[in-house]
């Protein structure tokens, strides 16, 4: 088994409030890893530490190491911008750029970084939208506003936008929580397909979703990693009493 990301002794703070405590875990390549836990347990902060988005918040701080293919993304001289090009992110609420067309949204990452080769952009748009299972629905309307799509389509557009910069890892922060069940189920199917080519890490408060889409699951509570293992084991034979209580719905 190959590990893509190796998190070592990760701690994170907002000001003086510590939100992650000594997290150590290894994330497998081309698998879906789910992070579950009650609200405020630090799930979102954990994935935001993986693409160095956490440090953008004033007063936020991180210690520890996060190795991507063996290289520390917090290492000296590492540019967070390059890290973010390798580790893409999809947010909780679909956030296409409202002033851009579907086409421009898809290649926003390339265009904003100065790529203007029309041929390459065209190719990337088609490839990314196909990979996000959106191409057939929008191929005739590429010049329409990204905001004119339905919520589920917008979220797939955001996935296409993340795929267009050819990342190796995709982080998803509760990607279906703002969507209806049909749209959510399409995204879940898509996540399974994406795992063939990408390492996917998904934060979810929905345990059924974690059980359906993920290969491995991590349970976080009060900023600590309580249990981490294969999804099957964690849901069927939880080792920790706390995990068992959480997945059986006693709290959370």
């Amino acid at each position: 088994m190959i590990y893509k990301i190796d998190i070592e002794n990760l701690n994170a703070w907002f000001g003086s409030k510590q939100v992650l405590r000594d997290i150590t875990m290894k994330i497998k390549e081309n698998m879906v890893t789910a992070i579950i836990g009650p609200s405020g347990c630090g799930k979102t902060t954990l994935i935001r530490c993986l693409n160095r988005m956490h440090e953008l918040i004033p007063g936020a701080r991180v210690t520890g190491r996060v190795l991507l293919d063996g290289g520390d993304i917090y290492g000296e001289g590492v540019d967070p911008v390059t890290v973010r090009r390798k580790i893409g992110m999809v947010f909780q609420k679909p956030n296409p750029f409202p002033m851009m067309s579907i086409y421009d949204n898809t290649v926003a990452g390339l265009k904003l970084n100065g790529v203007s080769d029309k041929h390459r952009l065209d190719e990337t748009v088609e490839k990314s939208l196909k990979a996000a299972h959106l191409w057939d629905e929008v191929k005739a309307d590429l010049e329409k506003s990204g905001a004119s799509l339905s919520g589920g389509q917008q979220q797939r557009l955001c996935i296409a936008r993340a795929l267009a910069i050819e990342p190796e890892v995709i982080l998803m922060d509760e990607p279906t929580s703002a969507l209806d069940p049909t749209a959510a189920s399409k995204i879940e199917q898509l996540i399974r397909v994406l795992a063939q080519d990408y390492t996917v890490i998904i934060v979810t408060h929905n345990m059924q979703q974690a059980a359906r889409v993920s290969d491995c699951t991590a349970f976080l509570y009060l900023g600590k990693l309580v249990e981490y293992g294969s999804t099957k084991d964690l849901f069927e034979n939880p080792k920790s009493e706390l995990t068992e209580k959480y997945i059986t719905g006693e709290f959370g």
């Binding site: 947010f91 609420k93 956030n95 329409k144 936008r161 993340a162």
Partner: protein, 269 residues
Amino acid sequence: MVSLAYLALIAALIPLASILVETILRGLSAVSFSFFLEEIPPLGEPGGGIGPAIQGTLIVVALASSIGVPVGVFSGIYLAEFRHARIATVARFLNDVLTNVPSIVLGIFGWTLVVVAIGWSVIAGAIALAIMMIPIVTRTTEEAIRLVPATMREAAIALGVPRWKTTLTVVLSSAKKGIATGILLSVARISGETAPLLLTILGSRFWFSGFTQPTAALPVTVFNFSQSPFRLVDWPRAWGASLILIFIILIINIIVRYATREKYGASNI
């Protein structure tokens, strides 16, 4: 409650409408084709027009904007992006103070800084008006940028776009309507300013003759005509010049509205 609101609305509209109606009634008789094109006659002399005043206003306002808009917009970006920095807090406070400085003081500033050195000039007027513009543009730019949702900024940053580029592309283009409105407000404000211009460009009856020379401007011309003892000849001209000033401001408004209209119909933000 609703009728009270209507009453308040009417109370607010009466002065506005009466100014407009009065200006049109009294000024329209002075306006003719030659009124736009001819040089300004001496007080009391029939004929002539206000051509140089229109030209002068456009030149002074354009020059003031070319100084004031970039300085104001970039200051606004700085204040919005580094809102917690100590220097930002100080700058924001001073900017608010500057907003409320009486315009005659800015005229004296322009006079001391430029007129004393090179004489009454377009440059002096433009600097005085630019200083008047800067705090308005700075404040509205900062407000407009702060209204851009954080999710928009995060979306771009997560795509590996550097922070400065995110600000200059995604954030600015989301805020452009608000910024354009601020610029428009400040242009409209300085177009009608009289006090700083009296002390800097002096006024003139002739066409523009260089940036270091005095020039005419609409507000100054309105002022001069209105001070004339030859009321039958010159007062209608003052009204006519006011009317044209109002129309210039109206046209600026329309241009900005047209230029910043939403590409995809209703606003999505």
